[in-house]
Amino acid sequence: MQKTTLGHLVAAALVATLISAPALAADTIKLGVAGPHTGDLAPYGLPSKDAAEMVVAEINAKGGINGKKVELMVGDDQCKPELATNVATKLVSEGVNIVIGHVCSGATKAALGIYKGAKIIAISPSATNPPLTKGGEYPNFYRTIAPDDDQAMLAAAFATDKLNAKKVAVLHDKGDYGKGFADFAKEAIEKGGKAKVVMYEGIQPGAMDYSAVIQKLNKEKADVLVFGGYHPEASKLLSQMNKKKIKVAFIGPDGIKGDGFLKIAGKDAEGVYATGPMDVSKYPLNGKVREAYKAKYGKEPGTFFDQAYAATVAALNAVKVAGGTDYDALGKALKSSEVETTVGKIKFNAKGDAEGVGFAVYQVKNGAFAEVK
């Protein structure tokens, strides 16, 4: 008899908790921030935590969002996929509304399945693996950093749209970085259908002479040469092209966008295009936030700080616009409402990548790289 009463009481208590849980959750907006906060990769995760804390503190000081305070929930995954699933499960069970993270692509992928099942949106400041958004598997995933293949797609788009190339030659130095860039660029050009890839080849890094490949470039009548690799080979190609008076527009990745290239290629560098990360320091919010960080912590903010700050701002803005934390409304808000952040004015495209974030095309003018407008 007594046993039953106790059982009833426990059951009643449980029911009560279950009922009261959503009521409690409604009082605050629960913002999760997950990433490596300990271990080898902590330097990539801690700046995100700092950024989220700064945004949350500022918003709470102003009275919160729609009258509700923001509560920060921190999860450490050490960039390990197996820990990331634990962190995600814990955050979901504690009623998280939206997550900033994770940081590493592998850990992010592992956690995303759990968030997807619970209908929780995650915004990563740093997971650059292209399929995370482009694969379409995770509609709940957004990011404020450009995916790895964006650079190559930008180069491809620039070649076909701005330079009106019809025939594109793609060369690479057979290394991971150069070939990766070249492969993505080739794919993008072929998919775009505006130009043909007339030549796709690897060159021997360190070789003394590239005349054969340059003659071939000339024979194929390529308008644009997209090159994946680093500056020594790029300078050699350019110098030999100029000697043979073969004028083909040259586009390289951020591996050539630097002083090393300008120094070695000299006058051959003039007019060369290169893609490179966008300059975010020009945005007013960026400078202000970085100053505030320095004043508070006494050091420069670390890696992915800008992106994490932007992700947090975008997440909370979406909550404000959506008027709550409903999954569909939040998704709609993220995709439609533009917001001023540390990486510029952003909103997200249908796949979840931030628009207006990432890479820009630069051209060498008078011996220096200048952004092409």
Binding site: K174, E201, G202, I203, Q204, G206, A207, M208, D209, Y210, S211, A212, V213, Q215, K216, N218, K219, H231, P232, S235, K236, S239, K243, K244, K245, G260, K263, I264, A265, G266, D268
Partner: protein
């Protein structure tokens, strides 16, 4: 059949071949006299290029900016002197003590010298790539054909041809050449008839290093960049060319280099440049199977 393209590739191949030949000549000469594969030859080539870069830098800083051939000649002469000193010293330190050691010992010593020189330059200069000025001016008379052969290409071709003839004359018709041949045939016997073998071998190394330095200056001014590692690839390609033509044989080195350069260029032009080195070394294997002594090499009977 696109004959213009074929012709362009042929020109490119000949130029590339003459680049290899210029380095291979010194390589093969040293082997011809003392049967030592001087792996440090590529590094002497690199040192020559660095010295020339430093000299042009000093000349530019001191306001001497006559853009004609005088800078090239001055830089080349000083590079040659430096390289000769390096070659002489190298022989004294790394090879002379091993003269009577088993044949493998000087070979290993040569590899060691090569690694040492590469790292030495990397430490005292820089591991980065440096821009190398175009020391060979654009000749006006080359303008109509510059699409096929540029001025610097022409200079390399001419220097290669002259070097080949000069070396042949030196070895066949001069006193020191006679002494070199005698040393090559039998060191003990040469000594007995009054030849200063040590001096002959030093001279061989000095001539080899001079050629390497000239190659270094000309080729660096063509590629427009140098770093401490350029000697390695140059050495490998020159060695391949020398073996292809029959190591120790001077016209053979030029022929081997031309075959190598043309094969690489045609392979890259008609198939894919990704496999350039595959064509080069595949050809080497093929020729060594058919003619183990190389194209112009004489099969030497091993004395037992």
């Amino acid at each position: 059949m696109d004959f213009e393209y074929l012709f362009e590739l042929l020109c490119g191949g000949v130029v590339k071949g003459s680049i290899y030949a210029l380095i291979a000549l010194g390589y093969t000469m040293v082997y011809g006299i003392i049967q030592l594969i001087n792996f440090a030859h590529g590094e002497i080539y690199m040192v020559g290029a660095f010295v020339a870069l430093i000299i042009t830098g000093i000349l530019t800083l001191s306001g001497y900016s006559d853009s004609g051939l005088s800078v090239l000649v001055l830089a080349a002469v000083i590079a040659v002197i430096y390289a000769a000193a390096y070659g002489y010293t190298l022989e004294k330190i790394a090879y002379r003590p091993l003269r009577n050691a088993p044949r493998l010992s000087p070979l290993i010593s040569a590899i060691g010298a090569s690694i040492f020189l590469m790292n030495y330059v990397q430490l005292v200069q820089t591991p980065d790539f440096l821009p190398f000025p175009e020391l060979v001016p654009e000749f006006e008379f080359m303008e109509p054909v510059s699409r096929f052969v540029s001025s610097v290409d022409m200079v390399i071709l001419v220097v290669t041809a002259l070097t080949m003839v000069a070396l042949t004359v030196l070895i066949k018709y001069t006193k020191i050449g006679k002494a070199m041949r005698a040393t090559q045939q039998d060191m003990v016997m040469a000594r007995l008839v009054g030849i200063n073998v040590d001096r002959v071998i030093s001279a061989t190394f000095i001539i080899g290093s001079v050629l390497a330095a000239i190659a270094g200056v000309l080729i660096a001014s063509r590629t427009g960049q140098i770093n401490s590692a350029i000697g390695f690839m140059a050495g490998i390609k020159a060695f391949t060319a020398a073996v292809l033509g029959g190591i120790g044989n001077i016209p053979g080195a030029v022929l081997g280099a031309m075959v190598l350069g043309i094969a690489e260029t045609f392979g890259a032009g008609y198939i894919s440049s990704a496999y350039e080195d595959v064509f080069a070394f595949g050809l080497l294997v093929l020729i060594l199977i058919l003619r183990p002594a190389g194209l112009l090499g004489k099969a030497v009977k091993q004395k037992v």
